[in-house]
């Protein structure tokens, strides 16, 4: 037998070779002392391309947006100390939404660890609560296998970010390089197939259901289960609702889709959630923004089937009757097989009830307004882009309006920070989305407050010619904070007014982009059409919108999901 030939490489070379072996196209990063050798090796090759951000938070969000919009692993590279701490917000964002990412951080040399060296921080300690797993590589001999583990852990089971912290001396030391093709770990073996007995029970419940509802979450998108979900919904004829994170997995324009549920979900989705008799939850986690008060939710009896890859997501906030741990496409495939010729019940009276709820038209707003309504901008954005753009968003009112008014028909088109709710996410995430989807239309829906949190990335957009369309809904307020202050704090708008805003048009121009100020409703559509015609340019559209507009429906914190405030109530 031939001996497998291995070569002696430096740690820095090994890092790059591992990235190449994983087929990584882009690394988002920022150089610094501890990663100089890695950057030196990046420089010497052209397979892995590096995108230089302007702040490490941007690197993590960009890698995240790259991953969300493509199902590939997002990779970022930061230096020790502040490089890593700056990236932490982005890592935590990815963790909360289960995004597969590998973060490589530099570390001070092994002999200096613990001595409070320059730019030293305990990277594995700081990130431990916000990564799926992390590693400190103390010996260059372990580097390749650690990198393999990092990619393996990030992408399998419930995905998530994995950090590999590499001391500077490890990047200089040499070892034989062999990148393992597969890896097995006795302590880490995520399941794929669901329990067949449980699946049988679940199918039986669905067949007997009189008021069924399918409730889907980000897990459906992450596991690429959209085709199986579509088959199941069509096969059963059941209504379907989605969380913020699951939008697009089932077409938003289809009549079986009730839209988003939860705190700012539609009236019909929340009512159906409360009153269904059999609930099929798929890749969703019954979180506080979705079911509101769990005690109120439990007042109506219903059988709950829950499919999730992560056992700890099941029966965490809501007790489940039929738990099924497994990979969603596999499990749904088995569901479809088990249905075969069996007939579901006639649920026409349930649908009639849903149509009555729908007739409330809960998303209506004043279309005759003389000032620009933010909802109107999003409706026009939907029209102008043909519903076919990748939309990233920041966090707040604009995020909710985008989720309500942009009807996503495909998964991985709606990119937002759902779990952590990170302002500043939208622009860098859009950078990642553009690079992962060359030629696609990418827009970032944001507000004047959120956009200023990672504004520096306009410079990155210029350097790499990223033609993002920024839809800035400028109401001069942290709108969601203002809304809560109006509803629950006696109109005391404590520190939510954004004074001394920059002239965003000039600001965009200062970074070498174009900016357009839009002040009248009649100008909204022409401005959008003009901007989206410019396929190669970043255009910053600054819409001056109604300062007092609120997001409806709204379930106040701690209330039940049917205790909605509707626009008509006021």
């Amino acid at each position: 037998m031939d001996r497998i030939k291995t070569e002696e490489l430096t740690g820095a070379e090994i890092v790059i070779r591992c990235l190449q072996a994983e087929g990584v196209e882009y690394v988002f990063g920022y150089p610094g002392g501890a990663v100089l050798w890695i950057y030196d090796e990046l420089f010497k090759q052209d397979k892995v391309r590096h995108v230089l951000v302007r702040h490490e938070q941007g690197a993590a969000h960009a890698a995240d947006g790259y991953s969300r919009s493509s199902h590939k692993v997002g990779v970022c590279l930061v230096t020790s100390g502040p490089g890593l701490t700056n990236a932490v917000t982005g890592i935590a964002t990815a963790y909360m939404d289960s995004i597969p990412m590998v973060i490589i951080s530099g570390q001070v040399p092994t002999h200096a660890i613990g001595e409070d060296a320059f730019q030293e921080c305990d990277a594995v300690g700081i990130t431990r609560p916000c990564v799926k797993h992390n590693f400190l590589v103390r010996d260059v001999k372990d580097l390749a296998v650690t990198m393999k583990k990092a990619f393996h852990i990030a992408t399998t089971g419930r995905p998530g970010p994995v950090l590999v912290d590499i001391p500077k001396d490890v990047t200089v030391n040499k070892a034989e390089f062999h990148y393992p093709e597969t890896i097995s770990m006795r302590s880490y073996n995520p399941v794929r197939k669901g329990h067949s007995g449980q699946i049988k029970k679940a199918v039986q419940l669905l067949l007997e259901a009189e008021r069924p509802l399918i409730y889907t979450g980000g897990g459906v998108v992450l596991s690429n289960a959209s085709p199986q979900l579509r088959d199941l919904v069509k096969r059963t004829g059941f209504p379907v609702t989605s969380t913020l994170m699951g939008l697009g997995a089932y077409p938003g324009t289809d009549k079986q889709c009730l839209g988003m549920l939860g705190m700012h979900g539609t009236y019909e989705a929340n009512m159906a959630m409360q009153h269904c008799d059999v609930l099929l939850a798929i890749g969703a986690r019954f979180d506080d923004r979705v079911i509101g008060n769990p005690t109120h939710f439990a007042q109506n009896p219903r059988k709950i089937i829950h499919i999730d890859i992560d056992p700890s997501s099941i029966s965490k906030r809501v007790k489940v009757d039929v738990p099924i741990v497994g990979n969603i496409p596999d499990v749904l495939g088995e569901f479809l097989n088990s249905f075969k010729e069996s007939k579901t019940r006639n649920i026409s009276s349930w649908w009639k009830q849903i149509h009555d709820w729908r007739a409330k038209d809960c998303l209506k707003y004043d279309r005759k307004s003389k000032v620009i309504k933010p909802q109107f901008v999003l409706e026009k954005l939907y029209e102008v882009t043909g519903g076919d753009a990748i939309i990233t968003s920041d966090v707040g009112q604009h995020q909710m309006w985008a989720a309500q008014f942009y009807k996503f028909d495909q998964p991985r088109r709606w990119i937002n920070s759902g779990g952590l709710g990170t302002m500043g996410f939208g622009l860098p995430a859009a950078m990642g989305a553009v690079l992962a989807n060359p030629g696609a239309t990418v827009a970032c829906v944001t507000g004047e407050s959120s956009i200023q949190m990672c504004l520096q990335e306009l410079s990155t957009c210029k350097q790499y010619r990223l033609p993002i369309k920024i839809i800035n809904l400028n109401n001069k307020y942290m709108g969601m904070v203002r809304q809560w202050q109006q509803f629950f704090h006696g109109n005391r708008y404590s520190e939510s007014y954004m004074d001394a805003l920059p002239d965003f048009v000039k600001l965009a121009e200062g970074y070498g982009h174009s900016g357009v100020l839009v002040e009248k409703p009649a100008d909204v559509e022409p401005a959008l059409r003009e901007a989206f015609k410019r396929k190669k340019d970043l255009v910053f559209l600054d819409f001056v919108t109604d300062q007092a507009e609120n997001v409806y429906p709204m379930v106040p914190g701690g209330k039940g999901i049917t205790e909605m405030i509707l626009s008509e109530d006021l």
Partner: protein
Amino acid sequence: MRHIISILVENEAGALSRISNMFSARGYNIESLTVAPTEDASMSRMTVVTKGSDDVIEQITKQLNKLVDVVKVVDLSEAEHIERELMLIKVRAGAKEREDMKRMADIFRGRVIDVSENTYTIELTGDGAKLDAFIQALDQGAILETVRTGASGIGRGNRILRV
């Protein structure tokens, strides 16, 4: 309810803090935690004593299993098990108290393992309640120092936790 959970974990740097972090981050209570290597040098065994409703305990075991370094988790209190804790206790034992103190140690099957002019150090093994009872039985003023290991546990009979 009180539960005693045994965990086999990869013997990696940081494994202990991953586990203790998870408890504090999710607001679970730790009554005691012990950790030491096993006969297999690549693994450590940890025993955590915690309190919580059935739902909380279910989440704790799920969250423990979710940690990448954790190889196996068993809730020992789900079935027959044995639980032991070691205590070293230093007590005042001058000429007056010596005999009483020795007798008390004998009653609890403790051993005097160090003697000085006016102190005894007593070693005592048992479940938590027995150690508590010993402390209660002594004249509180006579206790100079106590150190307890926290509980270790093992399943009865053929109940075996290994890879």
